[in-house]
């Protein structure tokens, strides 16, 4: 107990000394921690575009700094501490695995604001969380997949079996099923966010099984490259970035992560003093989830149907998880007309009825 007290005191001293120094400068420093390389597309690239939007929006008044390829775990805590010591006023940690590190460092630097993407822990008043409702985009993809498949076999490359991904799979399947009751879904778990070789293997295995529409929750263009090799028989979607180089086919549409509006809003709030702890979860309506151009490879009526779904979601007249929906085991989840509460979605660890296979436990 005594030791812990000592620790807290020392940490406080540390942060007072440096928090104070950071406050004195007139520029606001926004820092970003990336899990992968920025590269030319994908999850990290999109976050970096958001960071650049912050620079564009505020010009000389802000300074941005970032660190790529920060492993989730012990290294993240060090990088965050270095950033906080180095005068960052607000730090965006852009991967789920930074959750504990973000909260641990936030405890030591009460004057620095921390924003953790896709997490749920806000243990200190200076920690906020934010995420995007990607499942809304999956509904649009599912509709296209259900209409476009000829073999009635559609696939999904899962990254990790976390609620975020499971809800994407469920949304994709439900909407494919809605327009095509015969559809079957194959899920392959890659256990990575970015590994072109593994993603290509997953896509290859699915194509061999007759799958002709592949959606992926991993970041690389490898699944699209594999689809392209199938000679026009297999289509897929851009993930995180538009991946427009595979237009018009196999990439027939995409989900684009657009973090800029949120980053600009939060940094702006910090600058004008209106900043408050938040738990943000915006979707298509808020502009965080963009549906990339649906190409001419998709028939006009399917395109219109998908775009209408997108617009209904944006207008708030349709929720992708609207009952009746049963769980995989046949038990009831949502009653007729009921929509899924956010809490259910954020902890989602079950497939909906009709999906075969198990979520890895």
């Amino acid at each position: 107990m005594k030791r812990r007290h000592l620790l807290a005191t020392a940490a406080l001293g540390l942060s007072m000394a440096f928090g104070g120094a950071a406050m004195a400068q007139d520029k606001t420093k926004a820092c970003f921690v990336y899990v992968g390389p920025i590269g030319d597309g994908g999850w990290t690239y999109q976050h970096h575009q958001g960071a650049l939007d912050v620079q564009k929006a505020f010009g000389d008044k802000v300074e941005i700094a970032w660190q790529e390829n920060v492993p989730e775990g012990a290294d993240a805590e060090r990088v965050l501490t270095q950033m906080a010591l180095g005068g960052c006023n607000i730090i965006f940690t852009t991967s789920f695995g930074y959750m504990d590190a973000t909260n641990a460092v936030a405890a030591k630097f009460p004057n620095v604001k921390f924003e953790h993407a896709t997490g749920f822990k806000r243990e200190h008043p200076n920690v906020s969380t934010y995420n995007a409702r990607f499942y809304e985009g999956r509904a649009v993809q599912g509709t296209i997949a259900g209409r476009m498949t000829k073999s009635n076999k559609i696939g999904y490359i899962g990254s990790f079996p976390i609620p975020e991904v499971v809800m994407g799979i469920n949304s994709y399947y439900l909407h494919a099923k809605k327009v095509n009751p015969n559809v079957e879904l194959t899920v392959v778990w890659a256990f990575t966010w970015f590994d072109p070789a593994k993603e290509a293997d997953a896509a290859k295995a699915m194509i061999e099984q007759g799958v002709d529409v592949i959606a992926s929750h991993t970041d690389s263009t490898a699944p699209l490259a594999e689809a392209a090799k199938a000679g026009g028989k297999v289509i897929g979607f851009g993930q995180a970035s538009d991946m427009s180089e595979y237009k018009p086919s196999p990439r027939v549409s995409s989900i684009i992560d657009n973090w800029g509006p949120y980053y600009v809003k939060r940094v702006g709030a910090l600058m004008d003093g209106s900043y408050q702890q938040a738990d943000a979860w915006e979707g298509i309506a808020g502009g965080e989830v963009l549906i990339g151009d649906i190409t001419e490879a998709v028939p006009a009526e399917v395109k219109a149907e998908a775009e209408k779904l997108r617009d209904d979601i944006a207008a708030g007249t349709y929720h992708p998880f609207t009952g009746p929906i049963k769980k995989q085991d046949g038990s009831d989840w949502l009653a007729e007309g009921a929509t899924a509460p956010d809490g259910d979605l954020l902890g989602m660890n079950f497939y909906v009825e009709g999906i075969t296979g198990d979520i890895p436990k």
């Binding site: 660190q67 775990g73 990088v79 270095q82 010591l85 976390i162 609620p163 256990f191 890895p360």
Partner: protein, 361 residues
């Protein structure tokens, strides 16, 4: 014309000098690379090598140096014993993972009991986990004469899959809302591997690394077994005549390396990393191979090599955040270090001479 001539025996002078020469050449070549990237090379080199030790935030970063170097040294010393005897354990990463899983499983099984014996018992369990994983390639080699390089390396991928299973299944935090990852040991005093004193950067893993360096030094200099290890590497035939049992040596070297790697994993999971998570391993097992060679397979050399490697990581992070260097440039810089070391090693076994014209070959 230049000509390479084999030395009758390896040069002791060059064997000592090549690491220093390699570091110097890396600084020059790395400096040129940084300059081409448009950064001030002197500032970049200073940020990497000087700032973590003597810069503004050295009070924090020096401790972090020990955190990062500890597991590298612990694993590298174990590997070096085998490497000296010509036993190539490339799978320390897997042994590190299995050690962490076994030790953590023990701690989580007795959660939330508070008892002084829990942590030492976890260390033993971690060592056993790593040992057992290393015994697979060892037994296969001694029984069926399989290649330990391939088997131990392939087992890394198996271990990663077990890690994914553990963090999404049998070790998952029951209070984690379905998200993967175990309980965080930072909240469990009996199993926590905290710093010995606040800000020290030295935890039990660091202490164990130092003890191992001393033990390995004594073993190699003063003990019959050390002599046998060295002899087996230099003259396997002579070793057999001298009564060395090769199978016993394989089991021993693999076992020791596995146990040390397992312990390193346990110290990491209960300390800096805090929890078992899907990507808990951050490559210490592979980097340790570089450290072992950079340290000339000599325990004292490995101590310095581990610290140097840690310096390039931490300094590299600083250069990346503060100067905006892409992380790929930092990785290339670290790669250069190994490249120049291996290149300079040529001088240990060969000498360069000017070939006379018309000399018979």
């Amino acid at each position: 014309m230049l000509k390479l001539e084999k030395r009758p025996s390896p040069s002791v002078m060059w064997s000592r000098a090549t690491p220093v020469l390699a570091v110097a050449l890396t600084m020059v070549a790395g400096g040129i690379m940084f300059a081409v990237l448009g950064k001030n090379p002197f500032e970049a080199i200073r940020t990497i090598f000087w700032d973590p030790l003597f810069g503004e935030f050295a009070f924090y970063l020096r401790g972090q140096l020990l955190v990062k170097a500890g597991p590298l040294i612990l694993i590298a010393v174990g590997l070096s014993l085998g490497f000296r005897a010509g036993i190539w354990n490339i799978g320390a990463e897997g042994q590190y993972i299995m050690g962490a899983i076994c030790g953590a499983a023990l701690g989580l099984a007795v959660f939330p009991t508070e008892n002084r014996l829990i942590f030492p018992a976890m260390v033993v369990a971690g060592a056993l986990g790593g040992w057992a994983w290393a015994m697979i390639p060892a037994v296969l080699k001694t029984r069926f004469n399989t290649n330990e390089i391939l088997v131990s390396l392939m087992l890394v991928y198996v271990a990663q899959t077990v890690l994914a299973m553990a963090s999404t299944g049998f070790l998952r935090n029951p209070e984690g809302m379905g998200f993967p990852g175990s309980r965080n040991f930072s909240g469990y005093a009996a199993a926590r591997n905290g710093f010995l004193w606040e800000g020290a950067g030295l935890h039990w893993g660091g202490v164990m690394a130092l003890a191992t360096v001393v033990a390995a030094y004594v073993l190699l200099q003063r003990h019959m077994l050390g002599f046998q290890i060295k002899l087996s590497g230099q003259a396997p035939r002579a070793a057999r005549y001298a009564g060395v049992q090769p199978d016993r040596l394989v089991m021993l070297c693999m076992g020791v390396a596995g146990a040390l790697a397992g312990m390193a994993g346990l110290f990491e999971v209960t300390g800096p990393a805090g929890q078992i998570s899907i990507d808990f391993n951050s490559g210490y097992g592979f980097t340790a191979i570089i450290v072992a060679f950079l340290g000339r397979l000599n325990p004292v050399g490995i101590l310095f090599a581990g610290l140097l490697m840690a310096l390039t990581y931490i300094g590299g992070e600083m250069a990346s955040t503060n100067l905006g260097l892409p992380s790929a440039a930092i990785q290339a810089f670290q790669g250069m270090l190994l490249f120049f070391l291996l290149a300079c090693d040529l001088l240990t076994n060969f000498r360069i001479r000017l070939a006379k014209k018309g000399e018979a070959r």
